[in-house]
Amino acid sequence: MTESLQSAPGPFFGQFGGRFLPEALMAALDELTDAYDKARVDPAFTEELERLAREYTGRPSIITEVPRFARHAGGARIFLKREDLNHTGSHKINNVLGQALLTKRLGKTRVIAETGAGQHGVATATAAALMDLDCVVYMGEEDTERQALNVARMRLLGAEVVPVTTGSRTLRDAINEAFRDWVANVESSNYIFGTAAGPHPFPAMVRDFQRVIGVEAREQMLALGGLPDAVLACVGGGSNAIGSFDAFLDDADVRLIGCEAAGDGVDTDKHAATLSLGSVGVLHGSRSYVLQNEDGQTIASHSISAGLDYPGIGPQHSWLKDIGRAEYWPISDAEAMDAFRLLCRTEGIMPAIESSHALAGAIKLGNELGPEATLLVTLSGRGDKDVEQAAQWFGMLPGEDA
C-alpha cells in the first residue's frame, strides 16, 4: 500500500459519499465544514476536546481480555475495547462532544439529533446539558417503545424527545424528520448527526471524532505485545466501526470486520444487512449501499437492535468493502443474543445488543482461526438499556418460564 487510507477527507470515498440534499441546507453544511476545518487544526479546540474526553467521558477506555468468553470462540485471545465504560454508556459521546463544541463555535443555541437505540440521543442530551444548549431529539415511534428507558433518560436530561410516526417509525424516519427541522431552524440550530453517514462533512467528521477508539486500542494492543489479527465492530450507520478501523487501515495484516444486523436472516426479508444485500443508491444525503427496491424506494430494515436497524450505511464503509480493505458479515438476531448471554455469563459484562453482533462475529472468527489468533472487539455500548428486551427474548420476565 503506497498511499495511506487513514483519515480520508471526503466528500467522496471512491464513488461513495457526496452531498445530496436541498440547496436550503448547503449554506449550513458549508458553514459547518468550514468551522470544522478550522477547529481541527486549532489547539484551543483539540485541547478542550481532549480535556473533556479525559475528565468527562473517562478516556482512555480500557481494554479487557475475556478468556472465559474466548473458550467458546475457538480459544483465540479476545480483547474488548470498552467503549461501554464511557460516560453515558457508549461510544456516541466521543462524537457528540466534538459536535457540541462546534455548535458553540458556530454561535448556535439549539441542537437537533436523531436516535435509533437512544444512545446518540442520550449523549446529545448530555452534551446539551453540559454546554447549555436546547436539545430536540427525533426518535422513531417504534424505537421509543423498545427503548423506553432511554426516552426517559433524555427527558431527565432536559431534552425534548419527539416520536416520529411516519414511514417505518424507526431511525431512518427520525433522520428525515431531523433534516426537516434543520431546514426550518438552520439559523439557530445545528444538527448533531450520530453516525458516520449522511452528507459531507458528517462521514469524515464523525469518523475523526470516533477515531480515538482505534488510536487508543492500537497503542494498547502494541503495549500488550502486538497488533491483533482482526478488529471487529458492529455496523449500523457505522460510526464505532469506522472509529475502530481508521487507525488500523494501513496495517495490511489486520483484518477489519464489520458485523451488520441480519435480523431473521439474510435469506428472509427481515434484516438490516445493507452491505451484504443492498445496492448503490442515494439516501440521506450521500451515495452508498442502500436497502432499496428496483424503483429506488427504501426498504424497511429489521433488527432486534434499534441501533443497527438502518437501511443505509456510511459511505466510507461502502468504499472499504468495494476496495476489499474491510469485510462485512451478517449476524442474525439469534446469533447476537446468544453472544449477549455468553458474555454476561462468562465475563460478567452486559453488552449492548448492537455490540453483541460484533461479539458473535468474534465467536465465528475465533472458531475459524483457532487459539493462535488475537482478536480485538469494540464493545460499543453497555446493555443496561436492553435489559427488558433481552429478558423478553430469553423469557425471563416475571410470569414467564425461564
Binding site: 452531498r19 445530496f20 436541498p22 458549508d30 411516519t166 414511514g167 424503483d295 429506488g296
Partner: protein, 267 residues
C-alpha cells in the same frame, strides 16, 4: 427551448404570472391522479409539476409525505409518472417531473430522460440535487432538450446563486421559506429580494413555491415572480375527501380557480 420555457414566456407576455400546480402521481391511484391533474389543467393551472412519490421525502411536510406514502402503498411505480406526463401534455399544459434523485438513479438517468421526453415532458425539478453535487444528471441533460430546474433558498450565498441560476433551465425555483412543503398563514419576508437576486445571477425565469395557500398569496407572489407554485394546498383537496374522488376533484377545481384568479391579480 422546451414547452415549459415557451409557455412561461407566453404568459409573461400576457402580463401575468403562471400558476404551477403540483400533485403526486398515484394518489389516490394512478388513474385518479391523472384525472385530478387533467381537471387542474382545465380549471386554470398553466403548468403541472408531476410528483414522483419517494419513501424518504426530506423536503416535504406532512400533507405531501402522507400522499406519497399512500401512493407507494398502492403500488405506484416510477414508470407511472410518464402516464401522468402524457395526460397532462395531452390536456394542453407543459409537464415537469418533481422527483428526489434516487428513483431516477435506479431507473437509469438516461432512460428516465428519454422516456420523459417521449411522453411529452419538458424537464425535471430535483429538490435534493444541487448543480455541484456530482450526481451525473447534468451530463444526461446536456445532450437532450430537457429542462433542469434547481432550487435557491433565502440562505443561498451569492456564489451559489450564480452557480445554480447558470445551471438551471426552464426556470429557477425560489423557495419562499426555510422549511418543508406545506400551507402557511403568510408569505415570508424577503422573497421578492430573493427573486431579484436570482434574476441578477442570470436565472432565465424565477418561480416561487413553498407555503402558498390562498389567492391572496398567489397575487402577492405573482407581483414579482414569473410563476407561483402550489402543492400542499392542492393535495389537501384530495386528502380531505379520502373516499370520494369526485368530491376531491370538485374541491381541487374550486381551489385551482381561486389560485388562477390570484395570479391574475383578482383576489
Amino acid at each position: 427551448m422546451t414547452a415549459l420555457g415557451d409557455r412561461l414566456d407566453q404568459i409573461k407576455a400576457e402580463g401575468r404570472s403562471a400558476l404551477i400546480g403540483y400533485l403526486p402521481v398515484g394518489y389516490p391511484s394512478v388513474e385518479g391522479s391523472v384525472r385530478a391533474m387533467t381537471a387542474m389543467v382545465e380549471a386554470g393551472v398553466d403548468i403541472v409539476e408531476v410528483g414522483l412519490p419517494y419513501s424518504d421525502p426530506v423536503m416535504d411536510g406532512e400533507t405531501i409525505q402522507l400522499a406519497a406514502e399512500a401512493a407507494l402503498a398502492t403500488g405506484t411505480r416510477v414508470a407511472d409518472v410518464f402516464t401522468a406526463v402524457k395526460a397532462v401534455t395531452d390536456a394542453g399544459a407543459p409537464a415537469v417531473v418533481m422527483s428526489y434523485f434516487n428513483p431516477i438513479l435506479q431507473y437509469g438517468p438516461d432512460r428516465f430522460a428519454d422516456e420523459l421526453l417521449a411522453a411529452g415532458g419538458s424537464g425535471v425539478i430535483l429538490p435534493d440535487i444541487t448543480p455541484d453535487s456530482g450526481a451525473g444528471w447534468a451530463e444526461v441533460a446536456a445532450t437532450r432538450d430537457i429542462d433542469t430546474v434547481h432550487l435557491v433558498a433565502l440562505t443561498t450565498t451569492p456564489e451559489r446563486m450564480h452557480l445554480t441560476c447558470q445551471a438551471s433551465s426552464g426556470f429557477v425555483y425560489a423557495a419562499a421559506l426555510m422549511g418543508v412543503t406545506g400551507e402557511r398563514a403568510s408569505i415570508g419576508e424577503g422573497v421578492d429580494a430573493l427573486v431579484e437576486r436570482a434574476r441578477e445571477a442570470g436565472a432565465p425565469r424565477v418561480c416561487v413555491g413553498l407555503g402558498v395557500k390562498t389567492a391572496a398569496h398567489a397575487a402577492q407572489v405573482a407581483s414579482y415572480a414569473d410563476g407561483v407554485i402550489v402543492g400542499s394546498a392542492l393535495v389537501r383537496c384530495l386528502a380531505d375527501h379520502p373516499d370520494d374522488l369526485d368530491a376531491g376533484i370538485a374541491a381541487l377545481r374550486a381551489k385551482t380557480e381561486e389560485l388562477a384568479a390570484g395570479v391574475r391579480g383578482h383576489v
